[in-house]
């Protein structure tokens, strides 16, 4: 579904990603792990289109997306969350989610005659999604009133409502309590059973082991290892680079 071919990206003198290549299969959960500064989020940002690679090519569903703007990549089906929740902070949960749900609301003439109230079907869909992720809040709540854990759930709901075929989650369980972590784990398993393709950055190895079909390990901007969690997490070079264990 997604293929990175010899991707490199530098920021000034720092080479964040160098000659990185890997592929992601459809209907699988692929985890991207690695020490801080390994280039994981940069890879996410390159795939989303926040940065353009200095070198190399990115293919999504066999289409080269190197030169596509962010919004076109989203419309191709790439949806993502952020390491630290980013929200439309002056808007309600419902408004935030309606923006994710509606595809053509940036078209002025088409939307000019429509009222801001979502129609019943769209509002129902939002409530269903909030129930699905376990976000128990009044939809009219301003998003900044959400707690950290609720923001993580909100992030997931928004990424799911955005019309997509490929879901990228940047540290979905970072800093959340064990109960919420288990909830998110079950949610991702449910999504996988529905055929979702998920690409996730995560540091929690138990979480990765329990959900991922494939693990890609990055170190210093390059892919260090790739394979099943059992194989990768017992790889000597991975244990040395990531977990700091000298074998």
């Amino acid at each position: 579904m997604l293929k990175l071919q010899n991707i490199s990206k530098s920021f000034g003198g720092v080479q964040a990603v160098k000659n990185c290549s890997f592929e992601i299969e459809e209907s699988c959960i692929t985890a991207l792990i690695g020490p801080n500064g390994a280039g994981k989020t940069t890879v996410f940002n390159l795939v989303s289109g926040f940065f353009n690679p200095d070198k190399g090519e990115i293919f999504f569903q066999k289409q080269n997306i190197n030169n596509l703007p962010i919004w076109k990549r989203s419309r191709l089906g790439i949806s993502r969350t952020f390491q630290l929740s980013r929200m439309f902070r002056n808007l309600s949960i419902e408004d935030n989610l309606l923006i994710a749900l509606r595809e053509d609301d940036d078209k002025f003439f088409k939307m000019f005659m429509r009222g801001i109230e979502g129609d019943a079907q769209e509002k129902n869909r939002i409530r269903e999604m909030m129930d699905f992720v376990g976000l128990k809040k009044d939809p009219s709540t301003i998003v900044t009133d959400l707690s950290y854990g609720q923001q993580k759930l909100f992030d997931l709901a928004r990424a799911l409502l955005n019309n997509h075929t490929f879901l990228m989650l940047d540290e979905p369980v970072a800093g959340v309590n064990p109960v919420l972590r288990d909830t998110l784990k079950e949610l991702l398993k449910k999504l996988k059973s529905k055929g979702e393709t998920i690409f996730v950055i995560e540091h929690d190895m138990d979480f990765v082991r329990s959900i991922a079909d494939t693990v890609i390990v990055m170190d210093q901007g390059d892919v260090l290892a790739q394979g099943t969690p059992v194989k990768v997490l017992s790889d000597k070079s991975v244990l040395e680079a990531y977990l700091g264990i000298n074998i």
Binding site: S48, F50, P69, I70, W71, S74, R75, S79, R80, F82, R86, M87, F88, R89, N90, L91, D95, N96, L98, I99, A100, R102, E103, D105, D106, K107, F108, M111, F112, M113, R114, G115, I116, R158, N162, N163
Partner: protein
């Protein structure tokens, strides 16, 4: 007293259009456009030149001015793709300086600092009372159109862009097109306000479109509240009430100007400190 009230109410209606259109760009879309008053001036000069030099009828002049300002507004939005936030505000301030320089130096058309005199009011609206009705209708139409825009799903996308344009784009929104649309509409309406001002005062010069009206418009947006059209109208009313109330105090004439600025700043400071969203605004100043 009565003619003075009509004069003030007419100015309030014109400024309401300026401030509502500025709020569309600044409060709803997050594009701080200091060049707004430059567009106001372009609207005024376009209509003044077309009606006094080329004898165009008022209707064609107002439409041409609105369309020209809409186009320039659209062009002004293009740099916002790369230049963000404070830097965009500085760029638009530069645009205001450029328009000021054009008004002063393109003497063949603008008569430079001498300004353009003898701008006639449109037929049927030559009296102050009837011109007030015209400006009131224009303000009302502006309000209803902008209310419809901002209360539509498109308006919500503009607010999303204001809050976090990268996230809005990552949700599939063509933010460049949306920003351009907002600036086009904003430009159109402020151009119309410029035309009304030129035909109301019947004399324009470069000083009419400089920093003073910009300060009034920005203060009204902040006091009334970002992302609120009703707030914009309220902001204009407060700004005019504060500024004109000094006329009724027995102050020496040399004191009125400085006192007006001092009062203005006090109101602005109080609002920013105690109500960062403005009186009825929906977005904060961050």
């Amino acid at each position: 007293m009565f003619p003075f009230l009509i004069y003030i109410l007419t100015l309030v209606c014109i400024y309401a259009i300026i401030v509502m259109s500025l709020n569309l760009a600044m409060g709803y879309t997050g594009l701080v456009n200091f060049g707004h008053i430059g567009l106001f001036g372009i609207g005024a000069y376009t209509s003044a030149i077309l009606t006094t030099k080329f004898d165009w009828p008022f209707v064609f002049a107002i439409l041409s001015a609105g369309i020209l300002c809409a186009i320039i507004g659209a062009l002004l939005s293009i740099p916002s793709r790369k230049i963000k936030d404070d830097y965009f505000a500085l760029l638009t301030l530069g645009f205001l300086f450029v328009t000021g320089a054009i008004f002063i130096n393109w003497t063949d058309m603008t008569r430079g600092t001498l300004g353009i005199r003898g701008i006639l009011r449109p037929e049927g609206f030559t009296e102050p009372n009837s011109f007030l009705i015209l400006t009131f209708i224009a303000a009302l139409v502006t309000f209803f159109i902008l209310e419809k825009v901002t209360k539509s799903p498109f308006g919500r996308v503009l607010e999303a862009i204001r809050d976090d344009e990268l996230v809005a784009e990552s949700l599939g929104k063509n933010i460049d097109r949306a920003k351009m649309t907002a600036m086009t509409l904003s430009g159109f309406f402020v151009g119309i306000a410029g035309v009304l001002m030129a035909h109301f005062i019947r004399f324009i010069n470069p000083a009419s479109f400089w920093l003073d009206p910009l300060v009034v418009a920005l203060a009204a947006v902040v006091i009334g509240g970002l992302a609120s059209l009703r707030g914009s109208i309220l902001g204009v009313v407060i700004v005019f009430a504060v500024s004109e109330s000094l006329r009724f105090l027995s102050l020496p004439s040399t004191m009125i100007g400085p006192m007006r600025v001092i009062l203005f700043m006090i109101v602005l400071l109080v609002v920013i400190l105690f109500r960062p969203k403005g009186i009825i605004g929906r977005a904060d100043l961050d």
